[in-house]
């Protein structure tokens, strides 16, 4: 495990790097650190942006009341890095219903063939793991999920689609994700969820928060329509 490194991220943020690779234990430390900073709730805190192996701490420099806000915030975060007794937060488990294949997941059959599996096995292996929302990015509410069965890694499309439907559950390389709204995208589409991942009208716009856990629940098309209608 490499020692944490702290660097500047512009005038009003620090980047705390806990590792250099996509790794579940490093990511868990990122979310634990984020939870401890959030728990301490310093008045200068503007935002905490977790990624796979790093955490950005955005601050309001005027509230740090010091000549060197980066040093001040860096010192604050360093103390929490070492503090394993402090709370590490709690993660919510979300069960995400997914209708696999057909018009809901155009790439399912081709992806299964490419992996040397039948479609049912691909569905079973994709819906088996407990995933973690490693980070949110690319688009508002787009979760990058850690936990994909490494045998299911699939290269991205050579030519990205111009229209990926909202709710598409997809694989891109060794990563899994869900497209919150219709957008362009090059990941392989296995299925769709009727759940609305991102809605600015909700007090909490994103269904999934960084650090949360996700399990996919296979459903049939009729259930998809029923859940979609009630959403």
């Amino acid at each position: 495990m490499s020692a944490p490194r702290i660097e500047r991220l512009g005038d009003d943020a620090l980047l705390v790097r806990l590792g250099d690779a996509i790794d579940a234990s490093v990511n868990a430390r990122v979310h634990a650190l984020a939870a401890r900073v959030r728990e301490a709730s310093p008045s200068w805190l503007q935002d905490l942006v977790p990624a796979y192996a790093s955490l950005a701490v955005f601050f309001d420099a005027e509230r740090t009341a010091t000549g060197d806000p980066h040093a001040f915030v860096g010192e604050f975060v360093t103390q929490l890095l070492d503090d394993d007794t402090a709370p590490a937060g709690h993660a919510t488990l979300h069960e995400i219903p997914v209708c696999y294949g057909g018009t809901h997941g155009e790439d399912l059959v081709a992806a299964a063939r490419e992996l040397g599996l039948d479609a049912a096995t691909l569905i079973a292996r994709h819906s088996a793991p407990l995933y973690t929302v490693a980070m949110i990015g690319f688009a508002p509410g787009f979760p990058y999920l850690l936990g994909l069965d490494s045998a299911l890694a699939l290269p991205r499309l050579a030519t990205p689609r111009t229209h990926v439907p909202a709710g598409s559950v997809a694989i891109g390389g060794a990563q899994a994700g869900i497209y919150p709204r219709q957008s362009p995208g090059g990941w392989r589409l296995l299925g769709r969820t009727p759940r609305v991942l991102f809605d600015t009208a909700r007090a909490q716009p994103a269904l999934l928060q960084p650090g949360d856990h996700v399990r996919f629940l296979p459903i049939d098309a009729a259930t998809f329509d029923r859940l979609g209608a009630s959403a």
Partner: protein, 314 residues
């Protein structure tokens, strides 16, 4: 409540304020004015809170029918502005009777900002009235203005009506025109091996630039990549993609990215980056953290003096 009718939209006119803060962990961009200071000072000139929403105008402005008298102000780069054919100046409160406001081409830069007394009354979405063009929300239906749009204006003190525009003889320059070179951006280099080489080269703003970022065109730098572990990025981050042509991230930038980072342009210079026209040269000047802090203080002091000056004149 009064409304303005958009007769023609201009090239890309958007409703913006000081942006969304505290939502980057959900992949939500800051958005907001590309030069937040310029919009804040335009708001001051019309007596608004600095957080009020105004219009950001790019390249060529809109034509707007004013249904009643109002007070507006224009900041940013020089824009050809007329009311019923009469020329209007920049950087001061302008009392306009009902009529047609025409904002033409921008000179010497790319963007200008318009504030109106009472502010633009766009709905607040995630704490801001700014347009998130990539996310498709906020501002006016999450998009740039089109002909026929009706812009609601918040309540403001009535403007004394006359038959012609009225404005004072004084004005403000948001940027100090004597000490600031628009083509120099100061940055804090990262530890990347090419971070300091950025300063040695001449770059040009690429035509394929937008509110998300300015692409830089020049002799490429080595050490670019596209397969790094994605990390948070910020407004002002300088990225180095595999082709060696850096990208300076601006207001609508994504929240995470996998390209190596060359450093960060200091916040008080980002408003100038918003003015770079395609093909214009730009130089980067490295600073150390202490200089960056001193420049930020200097900028804050200049703004404080501008606020006092405006308050004394209004």
């Amino acid at each position: 409540m009064t409304a303005w009718q958009v007769l023609s939209p201009g090239l890309q006119t958007t409703v913006q304020d000081q942006g969304r803060h505290g939502w980057r962990h959900l992949g939500i961009a800051r958005a907001g004015a590309m030069d937040p200071t310029a919009l804040a000072m335009a708001n001051r000139l019309v007596g608004n809170d600095e957080q009020a929403a105004g219009l950001e105008i790019a390249v060529r402005g809109p034509r707007i029918r004013l249904s009643r008298a109002c007070r507006i102000a224009l900041t940013g780069t020089e824009i050809q502005a007329t009311w019923n054919g009469e020329t209007l100046p920049m950087g001061r409160p302008l009392d306009l009777p009902a009529g047609e406001l025409s904002l033409g081409p921008l000179r010497d830069g790319l963007r200008a900002w318009l504030a109106v007394a009472g502010g633009l009354d766009a709905p607040v979405v995630l704490d801001s009235r700014s347009t998130d063009l990539r996310g498709g929300f906020g501002g006016y239906d999450g998009r740039a203005l089109v002909a026929g749009d009706l812009l609601s204006i918040g309540d403001a003190a009535p403007v004394k009506t006359s038959r012609r525009p009225a404005f004072p003889a004084w004005w403000i320059d948001v940027d100090d025109p004597w000490t600031v070179d628009r083509h120099v951006l100061r940055y804090l280099p990262s530890l990347h091996p090419s971070a300091r080489e950025l300063a040695g080269a001449v770059w040009h703003a690429h035509a394929n630039s937008n509110r998300q970022g300015v692409r830089l065109d020049g002799a490429g730098l080595s050490g670019g990549g596209g397969d790094g572990v994605s990390e948070p990025v910020a407004v002002g981050t300088l990225q180095l993609p595999p082709d060696g042509q850096p990208i300076l991230l601006l207001a609508d930038a994504q929240t995470v990215g996998g390209y190596p980072r060359l450093g960060h342009v200091i916040a008080c210079d980002l408003g100038r980056a918003a003015q770079l026209r395609p093909g214009e040269p730009v130089h980067f000047e490295p600073v150390i953290p202490a200089q960056a802090r001193a420049l930020a203080h200097e900028h804050a002091h200049r703004l404080a003096r501008l606020r006092i000056a405006i308050a004394q004149h209004l």
